[in-house]
């Protein structure tokens, strides 16, 4: 099965890259952008077809490597 992991900055963590993108969007005429936060998406192809096992394993991957819990949170989507 496949897993998609969204890693995003926790609220309160400054995101200078997102702020620069927001300013750039403003210069392009997109006046309605109040804030931009930049994150990462990981697409994983997993050998297992057991949803519970996959979720537990991907959570462990997030805790150990994919996300830095000091500044980031993560969300996992699973699909067949």
């Amino acid at each position: 099965m496949k897993a998609r992991v969204h890693v995003t900055l926790k609220p309160g963590v400054v995101d200078p890259e997102g702020a620069a993108i927001a300013r750039s969007l403003g210069r392009l005429g997109f006046g309605g952008v109040e804030a931009v936060r930049v994150g990462k998406v990981f697409e994983l192809a997993l050998a297992t077809s057991d949803t519970d096992a996959a979720r537990a394993e991907v959570e462990a991957m997030c805790e150990k490597l994919l996300a830095n819990p000091v500044i980031q949170s993560y969300r996992i989507e699973l699909a067949d």
């Binding site: 200078p16 830095n68 000091v70 500044i71």
Partner: protein
Amino acid sequence: MKTAVIVFPGSNCDRDVAVALRAVTGTAPAMVWHGDSVLPRTDLIVLPGGFSYGDYLRCGAMAARSPVMQAVLEAARHGTPVLGICNGFQILTEAGLLPGTLLRNAGLSFVCRTVNVEVATADSAFTRGYEAGARLRLPIAHHDGNYFADAETLDRLEEEDRVAFRYVEGENPNGSARNIAGILSRSRTVLGLMPHPERAAEPVHPSTDGRALFEGLLGVMA
């Protein structure tokens, strides 16, 4: 005094720090490849600057999980001093040996210049060669040196006198919280800092203010 420098794919200050260590200790450090799982007997471990693993994922994230780091963590637990410079500091936070993390510089630019840094505490093996409040000229060269930790962690670092170096007020080059340039572990035996003392250790360098850091270690561990 025996020293060891860990070399990761993408390290680029490993030789600079080796030169500084040899100049001060009289002995060449052991250069330990990141894939090794055993460390030689050593009185000091240095994680050098550079761009380990091409800064993939997050700066220092991959290096912090490389095979040699289990041995580094074990040695640190037993009190062997660990010095992380620049990318080494990033690796130490990713490995959990130091709190917080290093974010992208507030100005988004890679900053490469000599900055004014203040010694915030002389109470450690790394900083005992300085007087608290001494002002040093040290080079920095990084894209992700913006020290971040939650307010509670920052308060604790200050209460426990664990801020080792600060950028001089008004000259913070990267947006670091509370002007922090380097911090100590609770045990005071692990130091991570963004400035490069090894590039300020020889008469041909723009400054020799970094040399006392290595000399201070020599006095403790000889």
